[in-house]
Symmetry: C2
Subunit: 365 residues, 2 copies
Amino acid sequence: MLRGTDWIVVQMNATDPLTVETSESTGVMAGYLSESRALVLEELRQIIPDNRYGPILYDLMFDYLLREGKALRPALCIATCRALGGRLHDVLRTSAVLELFHNAFLVHDDVEDESLLRRGLPTLQREYGVPIAINVGDGMYAMCLEPLLDNSERLGLGKTLRILQIVARMARESVEGQAIELDWIRRGQWTASDREYCLMTYKKTGWYTFIAPIQAGAVVTGASAAEQRELQRFGRYMGVAFQIRDDVLNLVGDEQPYGKETAGDLWEGKHTLMLLHAMRCATPVERAAAERILSKRRRNKTAADIDMLLALIERYGGVDRARALGEQLADRARQALNNAARFMPPSVHRDFLQALPDYIITRER
Amino acid sequence: MLRGTDWIVVQMNATDPLTVETSESTGVMAGYLSESRALVLEELRQIIPDNRYGPILYDLMFDYLLREGKALRPALCIATCRALGGRLHDVLRTSAVLELFHNAFLVHDDVEDESLLRRGLPTLQREYGVPIAINVGDGMYAMCLEPLLDNSERLGLGKTLRILQIVARMARESVEGQAIELDWIRRGQWTASDREYCLMTYKKTGWYTFIAPIQAGAVVTGASAAEQRELQRFGRYMGVAFQIRDDVLNLVGDEQPYGKETAGDLWEGKHTLMLLHAMRCATPVERAAAERILSKRRRNKTAADIDMLLALIERYGGVDRARALGEQLADRARQALNNAARFMPPSVHRDFLQALPDYIITRER
């Protein structure tokens, strides 16, 4: 039914040895992320004007940006560029745009999902209403363009157009991924396969979280096609592993560090790896009961409904299975990065990239 | 309070002689518009893929496009290019993108305004729900980029980047205009001046309806800065005149040709020229009564509420005044175009541009 030509082939294989290394990754990560975040926020202050045309446009663009996000996407873009020998100066504006795009996507995604919390605070549409939230998201998308056009002075026309092509594809992939899930919701489709889940996630999350930041970072340095291909393999695995960890955290994570409500995905009726697995395994009676709950709008669901779904997921071992799949994907990502490391001399930037697989599948937020 | 530096200075001057020529404009217009529309739809069929990733993304992008719209924006872009000696081939893709952008804007605007009808049929969010409508709009915006990047093969890098800059600014102006009105709604501001109304309209409607299509059409031909300036003056006046006519039609037009519900602007609480005028003129008692109605959400308003607002507008001569202002603006647009006609040899494309002022202020849809 899903007719895409590009997807990640994921084979669940229970005998595949998992080798999650313990490492000092958290320290490297935290420092690199917070430094990138500060640089990118400063850059965004240059890009986004002050408070023009009333207080509900440009000011609100900073609302999500200033909440305690990880700023993973710009850090990844910067690290890729610098690990390949590029300069911060050449990639900073592009990284900032990727962070802006990500936050625009979140603003619209929260409206679409009727989410309550984002990074520990009420979502934008709960604070300002749906019309303002839609317009702020549109504005953030619009603001991505002019800074990328300004790249031409520094990077030349060729690289500028190439980065715009990456961003154009990223925008398209993200809405395609979103459309896949919205279509599942509309049709009450709750038994999508792992492969279908991976395709949806690759598009909806993976493209803008890993693939585009890595591609853009590499393009700035003039990396070869072969180098870019290896890095993209890394990004493809990481994107899906990242979303699987997010699915798991949403069920078992503490609300405090994670910043979204526990089991919010079940209240919102998201298609997580664990829920889809449980629904595929469920008896016809269990599945019918779960479908009745999942077809309700968020406000009509009860705590008992959510408990029933949690019990179903537990019965079929959904969380352990998701963790195992996340670890397999991280392992493949490590292999791809080891190949890519041949053309990246040792540096803190390469260290950051190499610490990512562990970080992604063990993070608490 | 509005701190923009670029606005249209509009001076209401009751003694200003109005010279609306009667002409055969309707015939020229109808033919040119329908021909452009057919070309642009064909081009959009090349740009937008078939039914990939489920039926609720690419198919739905054609939903508004295939309703009986005027396709004014692409026709204007084509006419400007061709009147300046450019080729259809060089401008068609850009024109198609402008039509796509316009329809994306309508999709989100209808969600924000909770509109019921668009071009005589239920709005997208009424048919498919808010989440799908937001995502389809996002997808349509995303699909604007790749075709404009493809321009480089035909137009070269310089013109390609220039058109992208126009589109980037158009996207920004549109959300700024929207933000101005959303801020008025939020603050219960119902006495904005004519000048503030014109700034809002110039940004929200004028930029993507006139200024960007004209600029893009001119850039393709390599028009000089002086030529572009004169054409932009034309576009600025036309943009506001167009919206004023829309405000009037919404009050006095027939639902059939117009395609939106009669007085829908009052149900939705839009800031029309007539309503703002009436509110500025109203007695404190009248204004307080009207504000009580306007502060209600659409679903809580009654037919009697709308009748009260209609009576208020009539009492202060709002419609006649709006018509007079529209005619003044059309007159200025005619003068600007007469100056621009010096560098446009006679052609059907120039005829189309010259017929526009009459058409805009007399159209029934």
